[in-house]
Subunit: 304 residues, 2 copies
Amino acid sequence: MKKDKLIIVGSVGIDTIETPSERHESILGGSASYACAAASFFTDVGMVGVVGTDFPEAYRDVYRHFKIDVEGLQTAEGETFRWSGVYEDNMDHRRTLSTDLNIFASFAPELPASYQQSPYLFLANISPDLQLYVLDQMEELDFVVADTMDLWIDTARETLKQVIGRVDMLTLNESEAKHLTEKNSLIQAGQELLNQGPQYILIKKGEHGSLLLSQEGIFLIPAYPIEVVQDPTGAGDSYAGGLMGMIASEGNDHQTAIRRAILYGSVVASFGVEQFSLDALQQITLEDIQDRAKHFWRMIEIDD
Amino acid sequence: MKKDKLIIVGSVGIDTIETPSERHESILGGSASYACAAASFFTDVGMVGVVGTDFPEAYRDVYRHFKIDVEGLQTAEGETFRWSGVYEDNMDHRRTLSTDLNIFASFAPELPASYQQSPYLFLANISPDLQLYVLDQMEELDFVVADTMDLWIDTARETLKQVIGRVDMLTLNESEAKHLTEKNSLIQAGQELLNQGPQYILIKKGEHGSLLLSQEGIFLIPAYPIEVVQDPTGAGDSYAGGLMGMIASEGNDHQTAIRRAILYGSVVASFGVEQFSLDALQQITLEDIQDRAKHFWRMIEIDD
């Protein structure tokens, strides 16, 4: 098993989350937290992000649990990024209650020297400007995945296009793909994004699975069915983190490796949503993930 | 290849359909029309339904094209069932403009003697009373599938439960499954329906694919990706019809046969939505279906 370090850049946040049945205050969140934890089952992970001086030691312990290298995690004078949101209508709709960027507003991701020759990079959801700034610091990239969101499509479309032109895989959700390309057909949206440079476009549809487009064709995968979803926050980040962890561990030489990585990413995400924050991921091992992956594989194969 | 006749009972209608881009007036529709046409690629089909004296000869020609046995299609004095609806919001929402039951209001499905010993029966969406009335006329059933809809869940829940207790597979869509069981979790809804008797519960999620539950576990399949959907009317009926046609042709002895039947049903439905009414299905052959099924299979297998 290859063990090249995977670098993950994204947000670290303290979240307050309400669902129809529960409310959790000041829990560990952020795209980098979810993605690094998910990837850590498969490979060595280096985190790049920023926290404030208020960031609890207990949350650093969580990173230690996952053996995440936090040399690239800056601590800045001030408060950590905070987000609060509520899931409504049977969890189908998420509404943001407040976003306090705090020290994240002036974040400039500086990569430690020990990160810069890593071949694998996941640019979780941060501004395209910062994504480019990170890309410029990396020296020997082999496979880069970038995520994005509506905010950047609206406010930084041109910079986002530069990012898209420099990555191997773009991940985004269904509505973002349609929004970014101004197409109603998901297939057409994916094709158009494919023409902008990436080898792979991975369109996430949440509980409905996802769709991978490449020059070799389309791959479709449902989501692993979860009886009761407790907290979908970070599911997309765990998905991409798990996927990148598998790629860093198993390579990306052929379609089957990518498809297997996607299956494993889905499985890690499916554990993640069973509890709030990183609680579920802290309780599982690689073996649990492998067991569920085998089970999932049987659920989607025609030949049983 | 077995060629046991498949009996399909359902509605025959004349539809007027509007989409954001087109309007088609007085076109052939109804659950029995779609299901019989879809099944006819795989097996002999006997239709049970009713039309009025106004039913156009051209639409009987469509049935002839598919070699559908219409001995069980009654002609009653009066007008054929008519439905009109409009697809809004990028086809995501269907709104009924009018429903005129006409001669369908007093329909009693009488099965010709030649149908009664058929081993395969698909009870498309008609009232549970009529579904039971048909079940009582069949003599040697091997595999029965029933579809239903919200209307019957609201108005005939107890009779519907009797139907569910007597079929091998129940097909219904996601919201209907939740409505019928009063569960928010689709898995829990499916499990509860499984406890009511059927060997299989097939939950349809439209463009998001479907979910098969049985005692042997769960099978998940995405929908075949269509670039531009012209008219989703009848997609669920084509899906179930194709599936039942495959079962009548290939048997239902093992999970793989059921899974393959589901894959083929999805493929037939995917052709159906590419045009209005039965137009697309009239232009394809079994070979076209087989080609797309192979292509689809490659899209969902992990090992390429």
